[in-house]
Symmetry: C2
DNA sequence: TTCTATATCCTCTTTTTCCATGATTTTCAG
DNA sequence: CTGAAAATCATGGAAAAAGAGGATATAGAA
């Protein structure tokens, strides 16, 4: 028997998965949590084999929760679950220890296959998710330093170089250097495209 | 008996609602469509009393589909359905003839209540949706014109005023005017914050 | 029909960003 | 310890955007 637990704040999705799985052989439905906090509370009492985890939770992101659960309970496999087929989300979930990722339009077969694969310790990506993740061009997120990330955030907030300089207690020319470096790393022509890329990559 | 049809590309949600409704009294489940095209095809054959309609469909937006169905079949009540509790979406659905709006985290009771109210010709908004709709301000997407949207897209791509002017065959000062207007409507200080807001609102 | 919103165009000034080309200090991993 | 990466600072000039204050034409709604 595979013990399944689900974390998702959408009642209809929870109900859908429960309905799909209740007649499937070898599945032990342990229940569900509507948010990260009650998921963590549940895990102090019981340990499922697999957690189906939504990315959008009311109290914290599924991406953060994934990391936390994976660190505290390395034996539990996590299967990411969301409406969005966005490469940055999938990537982050996998980076944070998820064993797989499926979309909410997945079929029963796909869901069962995912559960079986993950149970065996393998990884599973649904067709569409895999396609997205392995897309060739695949807007790779550039490797930026923490200071650059800080500056990028303030730039996106609409602060000018001088304002950022004041806030960080550095010279405005230094801010400019970081900015140039960001434009280079993102291969962006100007601030507008830089901010768009960063936003679409989920960095800001 | 209330004849119910659902349009949603998320299999798990469809399954969840079907599971919730199949034991409810007075509900006649007519089936579901995964996209706008097959919904319209279905309606040429049969006429449900109520359509549960997702906002995000693969082929066209639920907002457009709502308008189309409402015009062609005024007798069918439409109940908007989505993950997003965003004011502009709710507003647009209601403007386009929807009789109500519920979120995917609604309970069975809420769903049944919505169906009953809508069946009687009344409107129903789920608690959270109603709260959002009547919220004074928050992150409302500004009403921008099609030309402004066009310019916004090109700005976010990293084009300068001159480049945009060339591409649209207008003067660079006109582009500047549109840009100023965008900054005003978004209440953004500069391009960086404008692009960030637009990206986070999903406009670009 | 009149009014309003949209789209178009203009000048001038100031601010900010972008570009090129440097340099010094700090920090951290091998 | 030592070198590489990161973070810091600088100058001077070119390009672009922002801010202020206009104007005209047109299409659609009241």
């Amino acid at each position: 028997m595979t013990k399944i637990f689900i974390v998702d704040d959408h009642y209809m999705v929870v109900e859908g998965i429960r309905s799909l799985l209740q007649n499937a052989p070898g599945i032990d439905w342990m229940g569900h949590a509507m948010n990260a906090a009650s998921c963590l509370a549940f895990l102090q009492q019981q340990h499922p084999d697999i957690i189906l985890m939504d990315i959008n939770l009311p109290d914290k992101s599924g991406i953060d929760l994934c990391k936390e659960v994976h660190n505290k309970y390395p034996g539990i496999f996590i299967l990411g679950l969301s409406t969005f087929n966005q490469q940055s989300f999938i990537q982050k979930m996998m980076d944070n220890g998820a064993s797989g990722y499926i979309l909410k339009n997945a079929s029963l077969d796909e869901l069962l296959e995912a559960i079986n694969e993950v149970k065996k310790g393998r990884t599973f990506l649904s067709n569409e998710a895999a396609a997205t993740l392995h897309k060739p061009d695949n807007t790779t997120i550039p490797l930026i330093t923490s200071r650059e990330k800080e500056v990028l955030g303030l730039v996106a907030e609409g602060l000018t170089n001088n304002e950022i300089a004041q806030q960080l207690f550095i010279s405005h020319t230094t801010v400019e250097t970081h900015r140039k470096s960001l434009l280079n790393k993102f291969d962006a022509k100007n601030t507008a495209s830089l901010v768009r890329m960063a936003a679409q990559m989920g960095i800001i």
